[in-house]
Symmetry: C2
Subunit: 82 residues, 2 copies
């Protein structure tokens, strides 16, 4: 089973990588792009036992809090595919 | 309106960053993680005119092909939030 953690920069944090992509899209002739933000997509493959644990979502949030995201500048969202 | 491009390494491509995260999760005591893969989450804010264009999805795929993803090692998926 797979869980996905989506990590995004907080709205108030500047995203120079996203800005560079926006400018490059403009240069390539793609019009109508107002803003680009780049985040991370972390896909976690779990063993059947881990997937069946009743506290799975809490554990995934703990992983995100402790390691996958930097809470100072990033928000995250956890989704479990059952 | 927002479109999101999810960029993932192809299955056959090694992901050293994902492997490092997996090992770090093991070290932190998170059991039951079989594999971790790390991809990109590209959120594109579009002007209303661009969002209304009939060829929007084709244009987003063209952006991904030409710039957002490296087709040799990455796959992508485009989702439009209407």
């Amino acid at each position: 089973m797979r869980a996905t953690v989506y990590v995004r920069l907080k709205k108030e944090v500047l995203d120079p990588q996203g800005d560079a992509v926006k400018r490059a899209l403009d240069t390539l002739g793609f019009q109508g792009v107002e803003n680009v933000r780049i985040g991370k997509l972390i896909e976690i493959e779990l063993t059947p036992e881990a997937a069946a644990a009743p506290d799975l979502e809490a554990r995934l949030r703990k992983m995100a809090d402790e390691m996958l995201a930097n809470a100072v500048i990033e928000d995250y969202e956890v989704r479990v595919e059952r």
